[in-house]
Point group: C2
Chain length 248, copies 2
């Protein structure tokens, strides 16, 4: 059965989503749990392989990561979801499991990805916001950041903000950038067909220069055209993969 | 100098506020950091002693814990606060330090304590709410809980909900109980001159019986009069010591 699982995780204790040689990853935990569904006789050496819809680095969270995989299962999907959650650690939770067509890929069938970045914008540090937000004590100018963000929307070469593996194409289509203050938090929302490596965090880092008054909003155009350097990557803890959109 | 420090902590990795023989506690971390302010020659065997304003058990958080202590300090208090924070682990943060009269005690000078309890009331578990809220998937009846909560307000013998050390008086004055839904969270707020051991969590546990429809709201009166058993203590992670009020 070809399935799509929608999952949430707290990225704090993970070295990112993608399986790698060293360190605990979400994908490795998930594949380990899925492999437990194989009959005992097949388990030796075998491993269920998964395809992730969006990349998240070490410390980055997800509310709507999507993962596709093939597994033998003859009962209903609610039972499967419950059994899978029972095999997973408490910092990963499978929110939904749906059957998908043979050709579906969590990665290649995705139309867009939505990421959210949170800043705790308060003069005092807060122990309750260190896990899911970045602390910036100086009051940020939301209007200036929103105005700078408008330059990012559209189909552009985003090489200034990130890289693609082995010199691949760096053109992406950013569909939406929102900057809003909610109480003492500032929430940035980005939607694009796809993002380059570290692109969201680097866009946030650059918007924060504007919010601090270090860079005027319309300089964002020059950053995009690589006539001015982008800001540093904002720290990972503030970032959450919110949603991946599909055409199904 | 006699000082009052207002502090915030994430209780997840602590065995509570109060120093005890085994396990990491907030008070022990704080006293260790304060002791580092003593001149080298005095440090051997000496320890700065602190008085805490409110008790928090293992896993319980604080936004406004208050602690009083005496320490020699000749510079300004902002410098002291910064130096103290630098000596503390990241899950404790000193929000403010003020000078207080000789007779002031964080414990005995307190007029009231405010605790907050959070419930994540959503059909799905959420990895982002396990640290600071208790998950209850069934939709809770907020109106019924608010109505039951009214019986708790006033000066009563709260023996049904908690204990006092060595048979001491169990009469307390509850000044306020609020139950409100904020999005998918339910927030309970309790204010009293003082609380018995586990009293807030046990009141929440009982209100949750009402919210689930297991106990009618007016049965709360019988619980208070010990003609019906109170509910179990609600788990610690949902609880936060919000504020301690003083007359200064």
């Amino acid at each position: 059965m070809h399935l799509l699982a929608l999952l949430e995780y707290d990225g704090t204790a993970f070295q990112g989503f993608q399986t790698q040689k060293n360190g605990r990853t979400v994908q490795a935990e998930l594949e380990r749990a899925l492999t437990e569904f194989l009959p005992q006789t097949q388990r030796r050496g075998a491993r269920v392989k998964t395809v992730g819809g969006g990349r998240t680095d070490a410390g980055v969270h997800a509310h709507g990561q999507a993962v596709s995989f093939w597994i033998e299962w003859t009962h209903d999907l609610e039972t499967f979801q419950r059994a899978l959650n029972a095999k997973l650690p408490t910092d990963i939770f499978v929110r939904r499991v749906v059957a998908v067509p043979e050709k579906f890929s969590a990665r290649y069938s995705a139309i867009s990805r939505v990421y959210e970045y949170r800043v705790w914008n308060h003069p005092e540090r807060s122990v309750f916001h260190t896990r899911y937000a970045t602390w910036i004590p100086e009051l940020l100018d939301v209007t200036a950041m929103a105005s700078a963000a408008r330059y990012l929307v559209g189909k552009h070469d985003f090489a200034a903000f990130g890289s693609a593996p082995q010199g691949a194409n760096t053109v992406r289509e950013v569909k939406r950038v929102e900057v809003q203050r909610v109480g003492d938090e500032i929430i940035f929302t980005f939607e694009a067909n796809a993002f380059l490596y570290r692109m969201v965090r680097r866009m946030v880092g650059t918007l924060l220069l504007v919010g601090r008054g270090v860079m005027p909003p319309d300089e964002m155009m020059n950053v995009l055209q690589r006539q001015r350097r982008a800001g540093f990557s904002a720290p990972p803890a503030g970032l959450t993969l919110r949603e991946i959109k599909y055409d199904i």
